[in-house]
Amino acid sequence: MSKWQILLIKELRHLFRDTKTIIQTVVVPTFITPLLIGGIFYYIGSLAVEEGKKTYDLGFIGETNNALFTSMEESERFNLIGYESVDELMNAVSEDSVDIGVDLNMELTSVISNNKTADILIFFKDIDTFSQAKSLIVKKINDFNDLKRDERLVNFGINPEELEPINLIEEDLTTEREFAGSIIGAFVALIFVAYLMQGTSTPALDLGAGEKERGTMETLASTNISSIDIIVGKMLAITSSAVITATFSLLGFVLPLIIIFLFFQNSIPDGAFTVVSSIINPLAIFGIFLLAIPLSILMGAFMLAISIYSKSTKEAGLLLGNVLLIFIVPVYVPLINPGMELDFIGSLIPCFNLALHTNALIAGNVNWLLFGTSFLSTVIYCLIAVYITYIMFDDERIIFRS
């Protein structure tokens, strides 16, 4: 056995005998995260369902003997509350006494009858993204507007239908797989990168700054093992931990889907069925792992270099906390911009490329040339990072920095 292999076995044994490592690499990604994600989705879903049934308090002032007010009054989704002045109404909205306010205009009927334009004011707070109050009231106003416009056209002797030169028909050809890719892909990548980081940072902290703090780095430096053997042994231990964590995180994500697939097949809609099967696609999983392995080595080398530079685990923890942003921010960009497409420059940015390739792998429309570019560029970054770490390990000022 070569020295790096001896060191690797020792590092793995030492790492995985730590309960913290087992919790972080296996327990949390397999059990806690799916529960957390499931819980969040359930909560968000139930909020959306509740909003769909909710009756909103609608404050109003202005004319009430018109079709618009009648339609609002007849709606089961509104509980109408009258106010004396605009200021009173605005205060009620500001203080959350009502969900939305409408100034219906005191002269609505007469202005419209005179073929003029009447102002209707809506007061709202655009904070609650789930609230349907505004969209419901806007729809009522638009329907009333359409009705009155058509009446005017008829009065002018014009058939409203003849006034429309184009009837726009939209047909969305997005497949369910593509939809799954754009929505779920970036989310899967985010979870994956988060766990790769967790899987690398804890052992990097332990095998770098931790060893310095415990004095075992000095013991290791006193033996005739070379710096390159130390780097290879430690890097492989960190990468193994990252890949194990990532595997369990994917398992934690996929297992509940498989359970739904097997036992609740009849109760899930067809679209969701396609989404689930797109994620449990062997090519997608293989592709994600192919990119994740050099990425985890890159992260590991980066974190080990920082860890070994630090005087203590406390200092390393502080430095790593800031550095983690470098890896996590690029994954967020596609998450908040669904439908974003990867180009050559993007394919060279680690994590960002993983997120967009994950989208494409799930959607089934991977650009293999860009995939190859991403893989090769990550391997090159990874070699540079390993070389820098090697230089640091060979520098006595860093190994014995205190």
């Binding site: 056995m1 001896i6 004095g215 006193s222």
Partner: protein, 254 residues
Amino acid sequence: MSIIQTKTLFKEFKMNSEKKGLLGPKKTSFFAVNDLTFSLSQGKVLSILGPNGCGKTTTLRMIAGMLEPSKGTVIVDGIDVRRDKHKVKSRIGFMTNNTSLYDRLTVLETVEFFAQLNQIPADIYKPRANQLFKKLDMEKYLNKRIADLSTGMKQKTSIVRTLIHDPKILILDEPTTGVDVDGQSIIMDLIKDIKNSGKTIIFSTHQLGEVKDIADEIIVMKKGSIIFNGKKHEFQAINDDQNYNEIFTELVNE
């Protein structure tokens, strides 16, 4: 014949000064080891004494190939440490000044790890380890994790892992620090045994009783430089009316 030779050895370290620059404290340098020249014959025991921060550990680390000298040479068993530090390391057993072992490995796994790192075949290191375990009365603890051991037992494990590749030279940096009285006497007895087997030993210590017991030669350091280098009887000859502690205190306070 000298097995260890140092010639005009210097070690310079950079450190933060009290002056502050734009990007934090300015760097300044100081010599942790300053013009150190000495030699040690095979089979002899050298004790390096000195107050904290006098350069003992730095000197030991340079001899062991862990730190590169800023100037000067270190020759160990005929090999220049600068030229082939790995060969030098294979001939040295270095024990640091704290137990510095992997908490989650057992005693047996620890010793096995260091034996394998030194490329010692199992049929050689296993009987050697068993012999040492027996001598140090450690047999009951072999499958216990390091974290569960007492400081004394950890120190014994450190000694076994240091000796497992049967090094020609043993370097011990304050080997009895933090060990109880019983542990200290066991360690000192073992060092005497090792001395009797013909190995060369360098050890740093604050315990002058240990020096009197086992050292052949003594070096006293102060601020990186040697202020005394001689045989044990020459140290005592400084003042026949004083004990080791008094002589040492007088030397370093001069």
